[in-house]
C-alpha cells in the first residue's frame, strides 16, 4: 500500500498545480493558433510545445540543477545545501517549509559563491540542469540564437529595392517611433501605478513595436530576461497579425487618391553596389553605434555571403539548414520561459496590450512620414509603403501591396515596399543598439 501511495505522490496529476495546468492550456492554445490559424507556425509550434514541456510537474525541464534539488531532494540533502548557503533551517518545520526558505535564499543574487557551492552539492547528488534550461542558457542567455537567425535573415534579404531608392530608409526610421512611444507608454503606466515596469522592462516591451522576432528576443534577453517569454510570444503573435492590424490604420490615414499613387520604376542596381552595401553599413555601425554591432554585424555578414556570390554553400546553409536548426532550439528555449510563476501575472496582459499599441503607432508613423515625403519630393511616394517600415519582413510589404491593389488593381507596390521593409530591420536593430547602450 505504501508503494502505491509513493507512486501516486510521484505522479503528475498529484503534483499538478493550478498555474501549471493553466500554462499547459496556454501552450495548447499557442499550438492551436500555430497549426489551425497558421500564426507564424515556424516559431509558435516550438514555443507552444516548449511551454507545455516546461510545465510538466516534477519533471523540472526548465529549471536549473539547484532549483530542481530544492524542489525534490531528500531532507538530508536540503540540510547540506542550507549549510553551503549559510542558512539555518528550523528543525521543527517540515521539509516543505525548508524548500520554500531555500528557494528564497537561492534566488538572492547577493551571494553568488554560496549559490555556486549549493549547486555543486546538488550536482554531486545527481541532479542536473533541465533540458530546456540548458537550451536556454546555450541559445538565448548567450545571445547566440537570435544573432544566428539575424544572420540568416541577412542572407535572405535583397537590398536591391532599398539601394534603388535609399530615401525609403527614412520610412524605416519613422516606423521605429512605435518602439519608443510604447516604451514611454509603459513608463507612464508604471508611474501612474497601474503596472510596475522598470525602465529596462519598458524598453524590452517597446521593442515589440520593431516587429522583429530575433531583435525582440535579443533585447529582452539583455535587458529583461524575466519578461522574455511574454515578449517573444507577443512579438511573434502580432507579427502573424500584421495583415489584420495594419490595413485599417493605413486606410484611416490615407485618401483613396493617395492610395492610387503610382511610383516610378526602380532603377536597376548593379551587383557591385549590392556587395559594397553591407560593408558600408558595417563601417557606419563600427564608427557610430558599436552597440548595434552584434545584431547588424551578423546581418551584414549574412547579406555579404548572399551577394558576394563566391560562398553559395555558406549562404545556402545560413538561410536554410542553419536558420531552421536554430529556430527549433530558439523556440523551445522561449517556451522554457513560459513558466507559471513568471507568465501568469498582470504584467503579461500589459505587455500584450502595449505590444499591439506599439504596432499601431509604428504603422501610423510610417504612413505619416511617407505622406510628408510625398509632399516634399518630386518623385511620387505612395503613403502605403510607409506602413512597411515596421520590419515584419516580408509580411508588411505584402500588406502594403495588397491594400494598394484594392485601390488600383494595376499598381504593384511590392518591390517599392520592400525598401522600407528592410530599412525597418536596420532601424529596429539601431533602436535596439541605442537601448542597450543607454540601459545595458
Amino acid at each position: 500500500m505504501d508503494k502505491l501511495v509513493t507512486l501516486w505522490e510521484g505522479s503528475g496529476l498529484y503534483n499538478l498545480e493550478l498555474g501549471q495546468a493553466v500554462m499547459i492550456l496556454v501552450g495548447l492554445g499557442l499550438l492551436y493558433l500555430a497549426i489551425y490559424k497558421k500564426f507564424e507556425p515556424l516559431l509558435l509550434v516550438p514555443i507552444g510545445f516548449g511551454g507545455i514541456l516546461a510545465n510538466i510537474p516534477e519533471a523540472g525541464l526548465a529549471i536549473s540543477a539547484l532549483d530542481q534539488a530544492i524542489e525534490v531532494a531528500k531532507p538530508a540533502v536540503l540540510q547540506q545545501m542550507a549549510v553551503a548557503l549559510g542558512a539555518t533551517l528550523d528543525p521543527l518545520a517540515n521539509a516543505e517549509a525548508w524548500r520554500e526558505s531555500l528557494k528564497v535564499i537561492a534566488q538572492d543574487p547577493a551571494a553568488p559563491d554560496q549559490v555556486r557551492a549549493a549547486k555543486d552539492i546538488a550536482m554531486n547528488v545527481g541532479y542536473g540542469d533541465g533540458m530546456l534550461y540548458s537550451f536556454y542558457s546555450v541559445a538565448i542567455a548567450s545571445g547566440i540564437a537570435p544573432l544566428i537567425i539575424f544572420m540568416g535573415v541577412g542572407a535572405m534579404t535583397d537590398f536591391g529595392p532599398l539601394l534603388a531608392n535609399p530615401r525609403t530608409l527614412f520610412l524605416g526610421a519613422a516606423a521605429q517611433f512605435g518602439i519608443f512611444a510604447t516604451l514611454f507608454g509603459a513608463v507612464v503606466l508604471s508611474s501612474m501605478g497601474i503596472m510596475d515596469f522598470s525602465l529596462n522592462q519598458a524598453a524590452a516591451i517597446g521593442i515589440i513595436g520593431g516587429a522583429d522576432g530575433p531583435t525582440s528576443i535579443y533585447v529582452a534577453s539583455v535587458l529583461a530576461p524575466e519578461l522574455l517569454g511574454a515578449i517573444a510570444v507577443a512579438a511573434y503573435a502580432y507579427m502573424a497579425l500584421v495583415p489584420l492590424i495594419q490595413p485599417p490604420i493605413m486606410r484611416l490615414l490615407t485618401t483613396q487618391k493617395e492610395r492610387q499613387i503610382k511610383m516610378t520604376q526602380l532603377r536597376p542596381v548593379s551587383k557591385l553596389e549590392k556587395v559594397v552595401f553591407p560593408l558600408v553599413l558595417l563601417i557606419l555601425v563600427a564608427l557610430f553605434l558599436p552597440d548595434a554591432a552584434p545584431l547588424l554585424g551578423m546581418f551584414c555578414f549574412g547579406n555579404l555571403m548572399r551577394e558576394c556570390g563566391v560562398v553559395e554553400r555558406l549562404s545556402d546553409t545560413a538561410q536554410n539548414a542553419l536558420i531552421n536548426i536554430v529556430t527549433i532550439i530558439l523556440g523551445l528555449s522561449v517556451g522554457s520561459k513560459l513558466m507559471a510563476e513568471s507568465f501568469l501575472s498582470f504584467e503579461t496582459l500589459g505587455i500584450i496590450g502595449l505590444g499591439i499599441v506599439a504596432f499601431g503607432i509604428g504603422t501610423a508613423a510610417g504612413v505619416l512620414m511617407a505622406k510628408l515625403m510625398n509632399l516634399m519630393s518630386k518623385m511620387p511616394i505612395n503613403p502605403l509603403i510607409g506602413a512597411a517600415g515596421v520590419s515584419a519582413v516580408p509580411m508588411a510589404a505584402r500588406v502594403a501591396n495588397k491594400v494598394g491593389l484594392e485601390s488600383n488593381p494595376h499598381n504593384f507596390l511590392l518591390m517599392h515596399a520592400m525598401g522600407p521593409n528592410v530599412a525597418g530591420v536596420i532601424g529596429s536593430a539601431v533602436a535596439a543598439g541605442v537601448m542597450i547602450k543607454y540601459l545595458g
Binding site: E40, G152, V153, M156, L163, P166, R167, L169, F170, A173, Q176, F177, I179, F180, A181, L183, F184, A186, V187, V188, S190, S191, G193, L199, A203, G213, Q265, R267, P268, V269, S270, L272, E273, V276, F277, V280, L284, F288, L289, Q319, N320, I323, T327, P394, M395, A397, R398, N401, F412, L414, M415, A423, I426, G427, V430, A431, V434, M435, Y438, L439
Partner: protein
C-alpha cells in the same frame, strides 16, 4: 518623486532613441547615395544602356516586360517568404 524620475528617463530615452535612429539612417542614406554615384561613375551599368536602346526601338514590348517583371518579382518574393524564419 521617483516616478517623476522614471518618467523623465523614459522621455529622454525616447528622444535620444528616435534622434539616433534618424541621424544614423540619414548618414546611411547619404553614404549609400554617394556609394551608388561613385560606383556608377567608375563602372557604368551596361544594362541601363541596353534598355534605353530597346525602348527607343519598340516601346510596347518594354512596357509589357515591366509588367512581367513585376509579376515575376512578386512571385519570387512570395516563394521566398514561404521559407522565411
Amino acid at each position: 518623486m521617483q516616478d517623476l524620475g522614471l518618467l523623465q528617463d523614459g522621455l529622454a530615452l525616447m528622444a535620444l532613441g528616435m534622434g539616433v535612429v534618424f541621424v544614423f539612417l540619414t548618414i546611411l542614406v547619404i553614404s549609400v547615395t554617394l556609394m551608388s554615384k561613385l560606383i556608377g561613375r567608375f563602372q557604368p551599368v551596361p544594362v541601363a544602356v541596353d534598355t534605353g536602346k530597346k525602348s527607343s526601338q519598340a516601346s510596347a514590348p518594354s512596357a509589357q516586360s515591366d509588367e512581367v517583371m513585376a509579376v515575376i518579382s512578386a512571385a519570387v518574393h512570395r516563394y521566398r517568404s514561404t521559407r522565411r524564419r
